[in-house]
Symmetry: C2
Subunit: 425 residues, 2 copies
């Protein structure tokens, strides 16, 4: 019998204390591989030990782990975003954009896209100073970019003007805030950074397949609860982050009249589960344009709507399209924090039950439609998904109300315009 | 031409001011009906006006509204619960129940069911005074009620002892809190009333068919958001309310070792959407026993588990059974507030990756199973649903691991015991 080699003694000694070792990066490759195999044989490859091996970045170890079919729940490292990966889109429904004063500390280092509602005609926009990177688009820009004919279908007026902002953006992430919102301030009076919080939501995975009772497990202070399947802990890409707001809730006119106010922040972010529909509000929303860009469009605009949030349907329809596309392509939609402070006083606005009734009746048809449709497997891009939705809307909703047929036409045109504009790049 | 009658003039005058009228209860029936028909004809029947008519409680008006197919989103009025409709179930895993001291202001007016873990043998329980209505059950009670043979299958030991408490309860609502939890205290030092908050969750409807971005619309301060379909605003009965806790999260051993703590209350209650699974934790949970009683059982007990929360699978399995039954029968499951304060320090407990791995591997099989099964339409009671799950577990999971087959046997026995005990009443 030969005496034990130095190598085997070293391995045996390391193996005996393997659970105490926190760093293996400086170990020569051949020792590392021996040690890994030894750990496996000894049945000591716990999650903690595995992480230390993975941290070495050794390609042999990594491919070996892969070949063993071991799935690892990685704690995501937030990518260091550059400021030029973000566009902030604002629609000017009134000429005075004084509300941006409040946003200066949060927004000024990012590029702003301000889209002027065509209905403002020649009125000059009043934009506070201090935003070094800013582009303003008006009706003539719309006409020259998409043409008068397409424009008449796309209806970039009122709140829908923002869709033009999405169209001209060239950055990865888009954040949209209504012009009646200002930052929530913390106890020290500092504005809360809505941009950063949206980016945390968008750059960490979403969990649409299983509900986590501690909400978003990737947010600081939370985690996956016991019983959350390990195979689902890697999550999926998050495409949309829907924020909330204090003060006037985004409810129907009758609730607004009741004077109800949202006064407390619920410190939670939730992935809306796969297969579950929700009502997206356009007040405070962010998305990954590269992932899901063209899905953020509506086309469903009712007569007379577009200037008062609680009278619009466009964002609700847009949300159901986006959710359908995300569910199909395997992306996630988060809802919850960050909050903004809404300044509009709903109670002073005229109650319009007729308008609510028209929208409510359309929803009674549209919601079951979106809950039931399944897109074909061949639709593997956002554009293809949108065109499939167009087809299904024409087929199953077109006869129910002419608004649906118009929405389908508008969505089809939108995808065409999006494609041609982005093909040029 | 005849002059207008006094009646017609009265109606016309009331109609002209119908939107200003806030109370019609004192109007004679025939006038009320004339006025209602006139309001309809004049197109003035807004939601607000409708509510005033409904508030009269006039049966002709109500049946007329029903025949018109008008759906109304009623703000639920919390039923005045009697204290004797609530059972608080506590399992004694250790003889000293001193933690109940802290709960006295919250629990003392309710009936307590204390189930002594059979493993405690002859040890005397130390129960603080001040709980006038209290029953203690021990192993001999278990044996005399269900028999030794059934008991060996049902395994009412460790955390599973609570299921015996559910079995002997005769009250509508059951609230269960782990013995390592005390009340969260507000800024003034008052204990937060976990019982009342659970009852609010259980007595207001749940909304499993559409996600409300402002969370539970029935909780004070919230409401349905714009775009939430009116036809779904009546919600469904809520069967289960899963609470949360501060301090040590209910995570896997590895997370507990990291020292992560839950330090803030997220002021939200969410209906887990239909079709979405979640990991129920047994730490702090309440349910409507009359609605869903026998679904709260597990039967999946792993070797050596039962005394340490983060090593148990029973509550996770129980949660997936309950969710499957609720989804099938059209009941809701809520998760979120109320919180309790957990005192256990997970970091001091021994890490047991092997135990975690066994549980994790079982979950990788069990979760897809529960996500995919559909119960037959003929299963219209909780008992029938549980027996269908038993059948499916045997058929599809029995071969994967013997724990599943044992769980099926145990669940079948449980339903039998539940039926025979409740048939006697």
């Amino acid at each position: 019998m030969r005496p034990p080699s130095l190598l085997s003694l070293t391995i045996a000694s390391a193996l005996a204390h393997i659970t105490d070792i926190v760093d293996l990066t400086d170990i020569p490759d051949f020792l590392l591989i021996e040690l890994f195999l030894g750990t496996l044989r000894a049945g000591k490859l716990t999650e903690k030990v595995l992480k230390v091996f993975i941290a070495t970045g050794n390609p042999h170890i990594l491919s070996f782990i892969e070949s063993l079919g071991i799935k690892i729940a990685l704690t995501p490292i937030l990518p260091t975003l550059k400021d030029d990966e973000v566009d902030i889109v604002i629609t000017a429904l009134k000429p005075d954009l004084g509300f941006l004063e409040e946003w200066r500390p949060v927004f000024s280092r990012f590029h702003l896209i301000i889209v002027k509602d065509p209905d403002l005609l020649d009125a000059d926009l009043k934009i506070p100073p201090g935003f070094p990177s800013l582009d303003v688009y008006n009706q003539s820009d719309m006409e020259s970019l998409v043409g008068k004919k397409a424009l008449s279908l796309l209806q970039f007026t009122g709140f829908s003007a923002r869709y033009f902002g999405y169209l001209v953006s060239r950055r990865r992430y888009i954040i949209f805030i209504d012009a009646d919102c200002i930052p929530v301030r913390d106890d020290l009076g500092h504005p809360m950074d809505v941009v950063n919080q949206h980016l945390v939501n968008l750059t960490t995975p979403a969990t649409p397949f299983f509900f986590n009772t501690l909400y978003d497990p990737y947010i600081k202070g939370s985690d996956f609860v016991r019983g959350y399947p390990f195979s689902l802990r890697c999550g999926v890409d998050c495409a949309v982050s829907c924020g909330l707001w204090l003060n006037t809730p985004d409810c129907d006119a009758s609730v607004l009249k009741s004077g109800k106010r949202i006064e407390r922040i619920a410190d939670a972010v939730i992935t809306v589960p796969k297969g579950t529909m929700f009502a997206l509000s356009g007040v405070n929303v962010a998305f990954n344009r590269e992932l899901i860009g063209p899905a953020l469009f509506s086309g469903l605009v009712l007569a007379g709507e577009g200037k008062v949030r609680h009278k619009t349907m466009e964002d609700i329809w847009c949300g159901m399209c986006v959710k359908t596309v995300c569910d199909h392509l395997g992306y996630g939609v988060k809802s919850g924090a960050p909050y903004v402070q809404r300044c509009v006083d709903g109670a002073t606005e005229q109650e319009s039950p007729e308008c609510t009734m028209v929208a409510a009746n359309l929803l009674e048809v549209a919601v079951p439609f979106f809950q039931s449709i399944r897109l074909p497997r061949t639709a593997i891009s956002t554009e293809a998904c949108m065109l499939e939705i167009v087809k299904l809307v024409r087929e199953k909703l077109g006869h129910a109300d002419s608004s649906f047929a118009r929405a389908a036409d508008s969505m089809e045109e939108w995808v065409g315009v999006w494609r041609s504009l982005h093909a040029k790049l």
